[in-house]
Amino acid sequence: MAILELNNVTIRFGGLVAVNDVNLKVEEGTIQALIGPNGAGKSTLFNLITGIYTPTSGSISFKGKAVSGTPTYRIAAAGIGRTFQNIRLFTDLTVLDNVLIGAHSRGKWNLAGALMKLSPWVQKEEGALLDLARECLQMVDLTYRAFELSGNLPYGEQRRLEIARALALKPAIILLDEPAAGMNPQEKSELMAMIKRIRETGVTVFLVEHDMKFVMGISDRIAVLDYGEKIAEGVHEEIRQNPKVIEAYLGKGAADAHA
């Protein structure tokens, strides 16, 4: 079953068509990758799914329900977690607090709960959120950093923390925007294992990535975006040999030589 479905999604910024008539299905329990040259509209597509932008036309449905037009926080609470291409952590808070904020929508007590902090009900919820946060930190091997300021973590760990924070939402699907950017080969292979582990817990993974080795090594299906249009979709081999994809990445001559 498709957990996430994009139907003829288009968005225009003035005269620029950033995403043009894209159809895409993400199957539940898979790792779906989205690749494409710089400026192809990959991040824009993520922003459309998470409701930061509203599509000019077309529709997006999550678990069979239309989500386009709903506010971002509702979409997140419904079960779409995400990370950002340019890391957006709460840098002045600790690692644990960052993940606890991710777990926000798994709690209920608001202002009244804050004022009744010592009551057993609120304590119980805080305990449950703490458990959840600990699980998520463990998933990305950051438990030992729990009480450090997130802004002080090295780059690779900040990326992992973003994943942990998104996992704390208990999402049905997690969108990873260039999770391997700026990582060394060692970190990348660790990250691959991590993403596979996340999928095993039943979370569908949808990722944008530039590193071909990374994408080929991890994803079940790959979609290719160029100039806002989907030019190809399929499994590794189909993508690798698709002349349109080669052209988009290497230029027209390369595609001819390959054929």
Binding site: I101, K117, R134
Partner: protein, 317 residues
């Protein structure tokens, strides 16, 4: 009980008593603004407006209706919070400087309204009778101070408080975590106003006379300075900042006109040497715990859980 306090207060020089109460009211106001500016990151230059709304509301409630003081205080808080929520809904869509200018404008509007309203006696100001409470006013003020500190501390360390800090840190990321940014901004604004309203009510009833001009731009800046001096987002900082800046004008009285120089110099030095404020970046609770050689509760819980996990055989990798 009331007699006991009255007896006790008899020993205190009335002049010092006045300073002690001023400090208390300063702390209440600073804590309120700290929720808005320190915790949620929304710069407000009109906090004195909420203080004046509280002061005049409670004064009118006392004079016209003769409402008992305790109910009066609460009702005033809620009315002020409602006004803040109403004004917050449109203006909290703005950020940074634009929001600051808007709150500044709002404060001026409130001042002009009170200067022209018949019921608040226009520019002459209102005389407020001393409330007939079982406990003397200075003690009431400090009970409210303690209550405010407790409530604000609870807010800081809760799911609600974490959401506010997320809004301060990064609004887009906060939304992506399922946090309704607008709602939390308005709520924090209303909480800040509630506290300011109560502070204003206490001010009105302790001073016995209020005038719209008492709550101008300078008062707002005063409160903001307390929060900044102490450290944005720090409760202990607000208490210390408010104590220093509420008492400073009295201790610097001998310098007469030069005291504003000292005041300004102090803030400039702060910006250079401790830009995060006196208590910025440190948690008072943690400091005390560390001094006692104990770990924060959260840390203990985490460690317990981790060791349980290692024992059951699937510990950290």
């Amino acid at each position: 009980m009331g007699d006991f306090f009255l007896h006790l207060l008899g020993y205190v020089n009335p002049y010092y008593l006045q300073i002690i109460v001023n400090i208390g009211i300063g702390i209440i106001l600073a804590l309120g603004l700290n929720v808005v500016t320190g915790l949620t990151g929304q710069l407000s230059l009109g906090h004195a407006a909420f203080m004046s709304i509280g002061a005049f509301t409670s004064a009118v409630l006392t004079i016209k209706i003769g409402m008992p003081f305790s109910i009066n205080l609460l009702l005033t808080g809620f009315i002020t919070a409602a006004v803040a929520a109403l004004i917050g809904l449109p203006i909290l869509r703005l950020t940074g400087d634009y929001l600051a200018i808007c709150t500044l404008g709002f404060a001026e509007i409130v001042k002009v309204i009170f200067l022209n309203l018949e019921i608040t006696n226009k520019a002459l100001g209102l005389s407020v009778p001393t409330p007939n409470t079982a406990i003397p006013m200075p003690v009431v003020v400090w009970i409210v101070v303690l209550l405010t500190i407790v409530c604000v501390t609870f807010i800081h360390n809760s799911r609600f408080g974490r959401a506010l800090m997320a809004v301060r840190g990064d609004e887009i990321a906060a939304e992506a975590m399922g946090i309704n940014v607008t709602r939390y901004k308005v709520q924090s604004f209303a909480i800040g106003a509630f506290i300011a309203g109560v502070g204003g009510a206490l001010y009105a009833h302790f001073m016995g006379y209020i005038n719209p001009s008492d709550f101008g731009f300078l008062k707002s800046v005063d409160i903001l300075s307390m929060v900044v001096l102490g450290g944005l987002g720090s409760i202990a900082g607000s208490v210390i900042g408010a104590s220093i800046l509420s008492a400073a004008p009295e201790f610097l009285r001998f310098m007469a006109n030069y005291r504003m120089l000292v005041y300004g110099g102090l803030l400039v030095c702060m910006m250079i040497f401790r830009p995060n404020g006196l208590m910025g970046g440190t948690s008072f609770t943690e400091m005390v715990l560390r001094a006692l050689g104990r770990k924060p509760r959260l840390k203990i819980i985490m460690e317990q859980k981790n060791s349980e996990l290692t024992r059951s055989g699937n510990g950290d990798t």
